[in-house]
């Protein structure tokens, strides 16, 4: 099991009185550059600390025009991490390819990060969330087509000497010849995050890349998705490796179960009630009707619709408790899901610096060593973890 610390870099100062979406139309008059600068530096410290604490890697991602995650350019953050760390893998999960024109830009920036970090980049490629299409003007009905073409183009950038010609449906480039190219050969590992879109899982299975399950769903949704992914790999004629799957989940550890809940619960609800609303907007043509219906059917299992702590615990929307509790739950669930990568959100919403640091330290010291022993790929086919 490999363990990564994921950071969303959320806006921590949305007023409790704020009602409405945290995305697209949430006015940036709520943003403040001085406070924002302090947050960026604090969050960077938290990611850098993950290396000292022994994590295998750190993860950042891209979102625009929202209070949920203030990293419109995860590559800027990753490039800082490339210099401030020496050992950890740096997973950018990912760049929303259709938002870059031409997407050669992504091949260039990812190659820069890989070179500067000495070959530690994990390249996440993503269609981008629904809200991004409202904020960036790119046609969502072209999202899947642009994504597929951009992936092929980036792979050519990394595996085929330039210059070459690319005349695609969406991108027409007479000279493709990016300098630099990555250190890792044939190219950095590819992670594709997804929220259960069937096309995405089949696509990742076909390429033999890795699929990261997007969080805030009931554990049964993850289970269904990873099972589907394993089946998709089987249809491609191979058995999925645990490293091809990653489970992203909020985690909070405190000395006792009771203390953990008391300290964490207000921040979790701020996250669910203030920062998630609006994340689920689905623009036209963004997914196939087949996938859109599936997503809608899973919507009842989404954290936005969760109202009680019991639901949080039952659905494993977040893993909260003493080191012993968290250790046991994570080991059981990771084994049940059959994932080889655990991506933990140790800072969420308004969780302050001191509690985040203690959470990181307790997790690293009391929980993480025990997860290394979890047999990667020990897929339980029995009943779900209780």
């Amino acid at each position: 099991m490999q363990v990564f610390m994921f950071h969303l870099m959320p806006w921590a100062y949305l007023p409790e009185s704020y009602e409405g979406p945290a995305w697209v139309t949430c006015s940036n008059r709520h943003y403040d550059g001085v406070r924002g600068g302090a947050l960026y530096n604090r969050y960077l410290d938290e990611l850098v600390r993950a290396e000292a604490l022994g994590f295998d890697g750190v993860c950042v991602n891209e979102h625009h025009a929202n209070a949920y995650g203030t990293m419109p350019s995860p590559n800027l953050i990753a490039s800082i991490l490339a210099r401030e760390t020496r050992r950890v893998k740096i997973a950018v999960v990912g760049n929303a390819l259709p938002l870059y024109n031409p997407p050669v830009r992504v091949a260039e920036e990812f190659a820069m990060i890989d070179c500067i970090s000495g070959g530690r980049l994990i390249a996440g490629l993503v269609v981008g969330g629904g809200p991004e299409y409202y904020s960036n003007g790119v046609n969502p009905a072209e999202a899947r087509g642009r994504f597929a073409e951009a992936v092929d183009l980036i792979m050519r950038c990394w595996t085929e000497p330039g210059p070459f010609v690319h005349m695609g449906r969406y991108y027409k480039l007479r000279y493709v010849n990016p300098w630099p190219t990555p250190i890792q050969t044939p190219h950095p590992p590819i992670w594709i995050p997804g929220a259960g879109s069937l096309e995405t899982m089949e696509y990742v299975a076909r390429r033999r890349w890795s699929y990261m399950g997007i969080p805030y769903f009931h554990k049964r949704v993850f289970k269904r998705n990873f099972d589907f992914f394993r089946e998709a790999c089987a249809k491609e004629g191979y058995e999925a490796r645990p490293e091809q799957m990653g489970w992203l989940v909020p985690v909070y550890v405190a000395p006792t179960d009771e203390q953990a809940r008391r300290e964490f619960e207000p921040h979790l609800w701020h996250f669910a009630h203030k920062l998630l609303p609006g994340i689920n907007i689905s623009p036209p043509g963004y997914t196939s009707p087949r996938s859109a219906l599936k997503t809608m059917s899973a919507f009842g299992d989404f954290m936005l619709n969760v109202t009680t702590w019991e639901q949080i615990e039952d659905g494993a929307y977040a893993i909260v408790g003493s080191p012993a509790t968290v250790r046991q739950k994570l080991a059981e669930l990771a084994g049940w899901l059959g994932v080889g990568n655990l991506l933990v959100l140790l800072q969420l919403a308004t969780l302050p610096a001191d509690l985040t640091q203690r959470n990181q330290e307790l997790f690293a010291r009391e929980v993480m060593p025990h997860l290394r022993g979890v047999a990667a790929g020990a897929v339980a086919h029995g009943a779900p973890a209780s």
């Binding site: 697209v24 299409y133 409202y134 003007g137 790119v138 046609n139 969502p140 009905a141 072209e142 907007i281 689905s282 623009p283 036209p284 043509g285 009707p289 859109a292 219906l293 809608m296 919507f299 009842g300």
Partner: protein, 261 residues
Amino acid sequence: MPETRTLDVGGKRIRVLSGGRGPDLLYLHSASADVAWLDLHERLAARFTVHLPAHPGFAESTGLEDVDEMLDLVLHYADLQDACGLRGSAVVGASFGGWIAAELAALYPERVGRLVLVDALGLWLDEHPVAEIFGTTPPELAQKMFYDQQHPIAALMHSFTTLSAVPEEIALPQMKVMEAVAKVGWNPYLHDPKLAARLRRVQAPTLVVWGRQDGITPLAYGERYRDLVPGARLLVLDRCGHLPPLEQPEELARAIGDFLA
């Protein structure tokens, strides 16, 4: 009752409803219920031979994968006119269909004998932005679309407070429709920046019909079309929102009939 045919138009399979007697009338539907044969079409069919094709991606019509921009739809309708012998016929378009009709009349003036634009999309006024249709709940959309919130379709939309409350048999076709509109109308948003300057090319006698309470494309757009299309007249329908074909079919049919007669 209309006759239903499936035509091959440039490789697209297009559903066409047709019925009535008299001169040909090509009806280009909106993104709402007038893709089906409604009271309006029945009334028009008393005086005209009405042809109601479904746009690519709507109802049973295919070929959306070949539509990336408005010009693709205009060329599609030029092909369809040739396939149906409708070159030079009267063209009536509502909302999204009105946008297509205006483009067709501007790019191919000789193909449109007379033109009726009903609450047509296609233009942009900074001071009256076209309402958001892609990111709203069905009740919010109904508020903007209808004058009469008790209209059966408005009432149906009000019953869907969240998108996940929409039953599959309605959600699936509606998702297809919104995708088809988004392909040409996501950006620039539901208009063609070149259209305003091209409307001077329209040769067809033109009637512009607008719902006074249109909350999607407010009346200012009707006035703009009247000002830009040479010789156009504007008729405003009271107690009517964005979709006169649904809310005022009798008045609309009479206005179209009198204008085309």
